[in-house]
């Protein structure tokens, strides 16, 4: 499939989507659909629910692209935020067993032989950054973000005051930002094409 829009920034694509350019939505899906699906699947642990979350998120993007403010946020952040919120809503709605997200081990071996090199690189960076966090911070981030637990649920599950949970989440995210923001780690899209 040709990718005529491949040279455009994510942000430009969102602005085109705001003009109902379906090709721009398709290109955004080609860039982030896989990460979106992986995220949704990790949270909801069910392929059908993960598909629903991704579809709802991309339609939300489509319908509210005109409200996107490129100065305030990266388009990829916005897209993945939309996906995550829907996945968390789904997992809470479904009251699914989320305890298994406590286990870090049962990761599918890898994303498959066809996995995009860029995605693999991103995953390795993020996982390395997570591993370098203090255990308590990593646990709070993983349970909240991948497990879909609210801070109140986390406080109860971990037997900690809610203030402690909040501090761990804040410290963890801030440290992650430092680790991932280190220079030389920026990877542009063009390098993958």
């Amino acid at each position: 499939m040709s990718r005529q829009l491949a040279h455009l920034s994510d942000e430009a694509l969102v602005l085109m989507a705001a003009r109902s350019e379906e090709s721009a939505l398709a290109e955004l899906y080609d860039r982030y659909g896989r990460a979106a699906y992986g995220l949704a699947l990790r949270v909801v642990r069910d392929p059908a629910l993960a598909e629903d979350a991704v579809q709802e998120a991309f339609l939300a993007l489509w319908n509210s692209a005109a409200r996107f403010v490129p100065e305030k946020s990266k388009a990829s952040t916005w897209i993945l935020t939309l996906v995550h919120r829907r996945a968390v809503d789904a997992v809470r709605r479904e009251q699914r067993r989320r305890a298994d997200s406590l286990d870090h081990a049962p990761e599918p071996s890898v994303g498959g032989v066809d996995e995009d090199a860029w995605l693999r690189l991103q995953r390795e960076r993020v996982q390395a950054a997570l591993r370098s966090l203090p255990d308590a911070q990593r646990e709070a981030l993983e349970l909240a973000y991948y497990g879909g637990f609210s801070q109140s649920e986390l406080a109860e599950r971990l037997g900690q005051p809610i203030g402690t949970i909040k501090s761990r989440m804040f410290a963890g995210l801030s440290r992650l930002r430092e680790l991932l923001g280190e220079p030389g780690t920026e990877v542009s899209w063009t390098s993958t094409i």
């Binding site: 939505l25 990460a35 339609l59 996906v83 890898v110 995953r123 909240a144 804040f170 995210l173």
Partner: protein, 199 residues
């Protein structure tokens, strides 16, 4: 509970609905929290890439694109017609067409056209983007109007350039128009629309 402390939890979607609502209300008034949230959102979204990403089923892409096409935002760009004023509800209320025409001509000596784009969401909220619009002059503002079929213009927000999210819902077959008004906006249009789009 200090609502400032909720930024990280909000970025992780780890608030209960009522807490999230309270935080969002606070966010509208707290610039520090907005700035911090923007940063923490980036970190949280980075976590998305930490998940193993098997290929989504091939039909998902088609399903999304088909649904998007079906929900296709209703967009009707209309060129500005400086010399062909049409009798619109707005125009009927206009009192100073010539002055506006002059002001706009002065703003845009090249006479390039304006393009208004209305993006209507499924819940009938809408955004308006006007391309080619200069920043509103000192003491003036652009004001958007929603004119339901056969109804009177309803003020839908003021802006100084670019576009805005329209206040209230936009009914079917309405016209969205933009006029130049005094700063602060007015409750009924006093000038001819610079541009209009039909939903």
């Amino acid at each position: 509970m200090d609502v400032h402390d909720l930024t990280a939890a909000y970025a992780l979607d780890a608030l209960e609905p009522a807490e999230a609502e309270a935080y969002e209300a606070h966010l509208g008034q707290c610039e520090d929290c907005r700035a911090q949230l923007a940063e923490l959102n980036e970190s949280a979204a980075a976590l998305a890439f930490g998940a193993v990403a098997p290929a989504p089923p091939a039909h998902l892409r088609e399903s999304i694109l088909a649904a998007a096409a079906a929900e296709r935002s209703n967009v009707v760009p209309l060129f500005r017609r400086r010399f062909a004023p049409r009798v619109l509800a707005v125009a009927a209320a206009a009192a100073a067409c010539v002055a506006v025409g002059f002001t706009v001509a002065a703003l845009r000596p090249g006479g390039t056209h304006l393009v208004a784009t209305v993006v209507l969401a499924a819940d009938r909220t809408a955004t308006l983007q006007v391309d080619g619009l200069a920043h509103a002059p000192q003491g003036k503002t652009y004001e958007a109007w929603v004119i339901p079929a056969g109804g009177a213009p309803r003020p839908a927000g003021i802006f100084t350039g670019g576009g805005l999210t329209l206040r209230g819902k936009v009914p079917a077959h309405a016209v969205v128009a933009v006029t130049l008004e005094r700063a602060g906006g007015v409750s009924a249009p006093t000038t001819t629309p610079l541009v209009e789009a039909r939903t």
